[in-house]
Amino acid sequence: MDISARMEDSHYIGQAVPLWGAMTGLLIHDTHSMGGREVMKRSWRKRLTIGICLMMSIAALGGCSGDNGSSGEAGGDGPTPISIWMSMNTNASITLKSMNEITAIKEWEKKTNTKIEFQHPAVGAETEQFNVMINSNQLPDAMFVNGDYAKLFNDGIIIRLNELIDEYAPNLKKILEENPEVAKQLKADNGDIYAIPHLRLGEYKTFGGTFIRQDWLDELKLEKPETIEEWETVLKAFKEKKGVAAPLLFGAPPKMTTMGPAAPTYLEAYGITNNTFMKDGKVVYGPIEPEYKEFLTMFHRWYQEGLIDPDFATNDQKTYDAKILSSQAGAFFTFIGGGVGRYLPALQETDPNANLTATQYPVLNKGDEPMFTGRSWEWSSSGVVLTNSNKHPEETVKALDYFFSEEGHMLKNFGVEGLTYTMKDGYPTYTDEILKNPDGLSVAQAMAKHFIANYPFVGEDDDRYNEQYYQLQQQKDAAVLFSKYSENTLKVGLPPTSLTTEESTEDSKIMSDIGTYRDEMFVKFVIGVEPIENFDKFVDQINKFNVKRAIEIQQAALDRYNAR
């Protein structure tokens, strides 16, 4: 999976057991209506029923069959109620309690005659809540997911959308017909479509990379590093001449592998990834390749010489930010939009000379082209699925398809004309509400308040949004720089393949053991607890986990994908 999807989509799941909501709602209602004895009696009975319901549902993970308020019958001609489960984007959660408050969502409801109810999981517990929700059968009408669609379908949780799209999603259908490459990505091996997708058809498909302190480079008269060797020189200079605690900062903001997002870019300079990828059309698992040993040797040296942040395995978002903002970090991985847009102004507040610049994905030899650039596919496996408990599939698909229409596309990417953008010579230009928000919100936050452009939902990203999203020159340069070699990634990155249920169970069992082992050993090798001479043992152990079988499974899926 590409890095940007990993990070930006990392908050994609869950809502607190809907019953809690229903219960607190009812209890509050009860206290208001308490008056006569009769009411009181009834309210007690209600409480008791709900209480028992709640207990049973927790105890048996299921049970209570009461309507949880997600999908009532559409009464007459009123708007169709649709509940959507989706994790709240951090930029949105700064100003809003729920995505229902987003301006574009309100507009969307009006246009499509629906009543959307977003259900959000607690931040940090997305996966847990998703798994619990799936298994307790407390399903909303639709869910935004990024993942194993075939498994969800085979488990009977989500439904197949082909017929519905044919009939009720003319706009999406048109896009798929015009872009066979995209349709190929979206359709499972058997031609099934499970998600109303989030698509990126434009130029911009790489959203993050390593940024470095330009002002320090200037001060020390250094060139922007490209090769691993040059990186070492620069980091050493930062260490020795600037006395920086963490010349290269990488780490593990929530739910990421121990390697964090930055370390893989250095690994990828060696021509492999931290996971499976394509080498001459064949699936290969990176960590058991000889290049991984070279990388570990180099990284261990960097650790010993104090060139990388010693706390890399325990960093969280808070410490990560703190190190950047207090100028303790010389280079770090972040996103062009949300990251640089936040860090750079904050840095310049304390130090007007502070400057950041994007660096090309590192390579081994001068003049090499980077192969892995964190580029996403047109469809990066995220979108909205319909659950089997959806009582209004037609209306849901119709409503979601709205975002693929001309009107909906503008609403999603630019918001409401007059309020968040104006047309200037046919170019939708954001107003000051977005670019210079009167309440002091950053561009990312102002956008998230009014529409859904800077994180995945349903619909298609518009390049014109990215062009303006990146306000700072540093951001614009970064977008160009990162996109320069992004086509290369298509040759080495695995496309969105799909596995059968059996394959997926087997694969995830093998790979989850290997993943834990790999991450732990990575730390040990880098810190030096495990001498690099034991690399062969490490490879042996991964082979014992039966990595061969997992590669076989991936290869078979890739072959099927190519044959689509």
Partner: protein, 308 residues
């Protein structure tokens, strides 16, 4: 049949006589039924290949496959060892600590001083585990309290919680610190039940304070100690799961990962291997059960005290 109806009528009579007691017991019975016995139904999936769509009954039986997988798993010995070691340390250092404190408090004659010590020692018990763990994490960070102290004595500062060698110490020590005072209450209560005449008699015989503790105080609370010990052993493998989750990170899985955290990760937080993790959890319960029965037997033989 006749016997049964006879028993039922006896029960009915008893109920009529002690109505209030029966009603008072109801919530407890309900609690166990709903939260302890009902969920056992779900344990079936340990022997099945559970799929959400097919439901618990509809899924296919796989016999002991998941148990076999677990026993052959690379992580089996590590999490078993960690679980047992952490529990063992808790038992070894954590169990005697409140007894010692109770004995010491019992020897104190200055009432106000005694009360103050007691109050201070049980305050930590009332702080939420989340807060406690937040404190521990902060204190042990690179620029935290512990490192400041270590630095004062000339040590090298490091992120304490990212070194596997430290985890068990931090875990056990903080647990003792948190529960020491509160656990000592029950022993103090037992101590107050000892007949003071025994001490008077010992005094007349010229026994020293230490002798008195050894021959009167300790024997006086031995039954209490034994019962609590049995209970502790029964929960030996049920190591404080929230606390580990809140404290650990992938760096220290080596010494920190225990059965319940493993189940949590594989079950709901990373992958969703429900059947497999249910099997693992069941394995833990079986061992607990065996330990409990064993400890009870042993205690009956040794000190003639038993729980059931």
């Amino acid at each position: 049949m006749k016997e049964l109806s006879h028993k039922l009528s006896l029960l009915w009579l008893n109920y009529k006589k002690n109505k209030s007691i029966y009603w008072m017991a109801l919530p407890v019975v309900l609690y166990f039924l709903v939260f302890k016995y009902l969920p056992m139904y779900g344990a079936i999936i340990a022997f099945k290949d559970y799929s959400v769509g097919k439901g618990i009954w509809g899924s296919d039986w796989v016999g002991l496959q998941h148990f076999r997988d677990f026993f052959q798993s690379y992580y089996f010995w590590r999490i078993l060892k960690n679980t047992l070691l952490l529990s063992f340390y808790q038992l070894l250092f954590g169990f005697p600590a409140p007894i010692l404190l109770a004995l010491l408090l019992n020897e104190l004659r200055h009432e106000i001083f005694k009360r103050t010590v007691q109050t201070i020692s049980y305050i930590p018990h009332f702080i939420s585990i989340v807060v406690i763990c937040g404190m521990i994490v902060d204190f042990s960070s690179r620029d935290g309290l512990f490192n400041t102290i270590i630095g004062y004595f000339g040590g090298q500062s490091s992120a304490l919680l990212s070194d596997p060698a430290n985890f068990r110490t931090i875990y056990t020590a903080s647990s003792i610190w948190q529960e020491l005072g509160f656990s000592s209450i029950i022993y103090l209560a037992a101590l107050s039940g000892i007949n003071p005449e025994l001490y008077d008699a010992a005094n007349v015989d010229g026994a020293s304070r230490l002798r008195q503790v050894w021959h009167i105080t300790l024997p006086g609370i031995i039954p209490m100690i034994m019962i609590l010990l049995i209970l502790r052993i029964g929960g030996l493998m049920e190591i404080g799961f929230e606390k580990i989750i809140l404290l650990y990170n992938p760096n220290v899985y080596d010494t920190a990962d225990v059965i319940s955290t493993f189940v949590y990760r594989k079950g709901i937080s990373e992958s969703a291997e429900f059947s497999y993790t249910t099997a693992v959890g069941l394995f833990q319960s079986v061992i607990n059960f065996a330990l409990l029965i064993g400890a009870n037997r042993l205690s009956k033989v040794i000190s003639n005290t038993k729980l059931f």
